[in-house]
């Protein structure tokens, strides 16, 4: 077990190196001269050259990359904002909490509704209820979140004045962003729950439970559901990723001061360090979350070690058979 956990942690290193390399590659092709950006248009050519030397922009690309990663690891230096001159990390940290709240709320809403619908459609399989559940959940999955958000704003905020259209000054402001991101994930959970429920219901231990004379309710909720939840829980990691991606757009639609809005604002303001630093921070957090999800589920259910290692689950390291 310890060996698996260590391996999983070691697996982070190449991923993080790769992600930082992608972001660094994007950084090197950004238009404009960072030195000029910092000094402003009044600076002379010599001053700019001096600043370029100081920033290490005249070094070979590989040296620049090593310095970039070194700066992140030792000083948490993701670059400074062109807009305010503040380090990206200090600008983003307070926003992380807001984004985390929305992401967590959304994932929870999506998971709860999705699992409930999944159970319903598994128990009523091949009936009209099953098809209706599938079509509705698919609708929310296939329609972009921001369009759902706009329609919700039109109905709930503009027409009915039930919820604020933008901002999170009151707790009601959180409802619509969470709901929009959550609803888009419902279909995924419904589908996984449905198929894993159907699979589990065909297992031997369910037949044994039936033979013992357990009530059907007991079988569904105690025997089947618990086991059927494993693949659902495993998909949480990738769903958090989707929720963060969706959050980027929705934070802008709802005017929520989170990381997503920060990055989008940085894009429109051509604040490239803000964009790439923000993206890198999100990617690192996401990678860590995925690792924690993997490890915690292996701790909960050691059977998973084999499925994860042999590549049974999506998004899991597949070539770790040697473990």
């Amino acid at each position: 077990m310890l060996k698996y956990i260590l391996k999983r942690i070691l697996y982070l290193i190449p991923i993080l190196i790769g992600v930082s390399a992608i972001i660094f590659a994007l950084k090197t092709v950004t238009p404009g001269d960072p030195a000029r950006q910092i000094l402003g248009n009044d600076a002379t050519e010599e001053q700019v050259q001096e600043k370029r030397d100081e920033l290490g922009l005249n070094d070979p690309v590989l040296v620049q990359y090593v310095n970039y990663v070194g700066g992140i690891v030792t000083r948490g230096d993701f670059g400074d904002s062109y807009r305010t001159g503040e380090p990206i990390l200090t600008e983003i940290l307070p926003r992380l909490l807001t984004s985390a709240k929305i992401t967590l709320g959304a994932v929870m809403i999506g998971a709860i509704i999705g699992v409930l619908l999944g159970i319903i459609s598994a128990l009523k399989k091949y009936t009209w209820i099953d098809s209706v559940v599938l079509v509705i959940s698919m609708f929310f999955q296939s329609v972009p979140e921001f369009v759902v958000a706009l329609v919700l704003i039109m109905i709930l905020a503009v027409k009915l004045h039930l919820l604020p259209a933008t901002g999170i000054t009151t707790w009601q402001g959180y409802i619509m962003p969470m709901l929009c991101i959550g609803l888009s994930a419902v279909a995924g959970y419904t589908r996984i729950t449905r198929s894993s429920m159907l699979e589990v219901l065909g297992e031997d231990y369910i037949r044994t439970a039936r033979a013992k004379g357990q009530s059907e309710k007991n079988i569904t909720y105690h025997h089947a559901l618990r086991n059927a939840m494993i693949p659902v829980a495993q998909s949480l990691g990738s769903n958090i990723g989707n929720a963060i991606g969706g959050g980027m757009v929705l934070e802008t639609v709802f005017g929520v001061p989170g990381v997503g809005k920060y990055i989008v604002d940085a894009i429109t303001q051509r604040n490239y360090p803000g964009v790439l630093g923000g993206a890198l921070i999100i990617a690192i957090i996401l990678t860590l979350i995925n690792m924690i999800v993997d490890i915690s589920f292996v701790l909960i259910d050691p059977r998973l070690k084999t499925t994860i290692i042999s590549g049974g689950a999506k998004k899991m390291p597949k070539k770790m058979k040697a473990a």
Binding site: V249, V264, L276, A283
Partner: protein, 302 residues
């Protein structure tokens, strides 16, 4: 041996000629049969066909020039003259939405083709050759996947700037891991079959093997991903242009039309309602069709 002709045999031959030829049962016809039985999938196909027709005949359908600004009729609510109303520049929103179909579908098609030629090709290579090539390609794809798709696309557009080629490139790079993974899976499923083994045994070359034997057999699954990804790229594209990244005005792309109406959400909600509806209908139709295709080509996946 000469063929014998007797009156009775001629009669039988005549009868046989009148009969319909027996329908050859190939995997494709079987899939089509399954697809036809699925009402939601047919509905999706129907809507997609209408959208394609609208895109082709946009200049004939649209009553106004989508770029023409008419300051005499600004911000008009939907009426018989302007079905979807007019925007703040007096442009007819109905015409813009109709032309938007053209832009949205064509750009989505470009994005999907680009994604298939990059990520899909990588996936096919990884799946076919296996071993080290597979490990290297898939590990790189793991890295790409650590950044959420839309964030990746936005970062690339942020760096490259707005425009259609930049957008296509961004979607291509962002979708590479998903595309590679699904195409690899499609090839892997074919790779294990007996006929591939026997072709290998009779010494079929590698290129010929991939092109002649594997891709035709994996194409059903690939079509599913293709249609599914068309919807994904429409979603991504409209979301990005809505928040002002990707395409720039005055392209009548649906996301951009929404972006134009953003400021008037409370005073003139119709400006956003119709383009939003179009995005919803299109994405839903593509997904219904894609789901139907999945059930048709691959009943086991259901």
């Amino acid at each position: 041996m000469a063929k014998i002709h007797t009156p009775a045999m001629e009669k039988i031959e005549k009868r046989n000629a009148k009969r319909k030829k027996p329908v050859k049962s190939t995997p494709t016809t079987e899939s089509w049969k399954r697809f036809k039985r699925n009402p939601t999938a047919l509905l999706g196909l129907f809507v997609v066909c209408i959208l394609i027709l609208v895109a082709i005949f946009a200049p004939l359908i649209a009553p106004f020039d989508y770029q023409k600004q008419d300051y005499a009729s600004m911000m008009q609510a939907p009426s018989m003259k302007h079905l979807f109303g007019t925007d703040q520049f007096g442009r007819d929103i109905f015409s813009r939405v109709i032309f938007g179909t053209r832009y949205s579908l064509v750009i989505a098609l470009f994005c999907t083709i680009a994604a298939f030629f990059s990520g899909g090709l990588l996936g096919i290579i990884a799946g076919y050759f296996g071993g080290i090539a597979d490990t290297i390609i898939m590990r790189i794809m793991d890295v790409f996947q650590s950044i959420p798709m839309i964030m990746m696309a936005m970062c690339i557009v942020a760096v490259l700037g707005n425009g259609i080629p930049q957008l296509v490139a961004a979607v291509m790079f962002a979708s590479m891991p998903t595309m590679a993974r699904s195409n690899r899976a499609a090839i892997l499923r074919v790779r294990g079959s007996d006929y591939i083994e026997s072709s290998e045994a009779i010494g079929v070359g590698q290129i010929r093997m991939i092109i002649k034997h594997m891709i035709p057999n994996a194409v059903g699954v690939m079509i599913i991903y293709f249609v599914g990804f068309l919807a994904v790229s429409i979603m991504m594209m409209s979301a990005m242009s809505y928040i002002g990244v990707g395409l720039s005005a005055p392209t009548p792309e649906w996301g951009l039309i929404l972006n134009d109406g953003k400021a008037y959400l409370t005073s003139a909600p119709y400006m956003m309602l119709f383009p939003a509806m179009m995005i919803m209908i299109t994405c839903f139709a593509f997904n219904l069709m894609g789901d139907g295709l999945r059930d048709a080509f691959d009943p086991r996946l259901k």
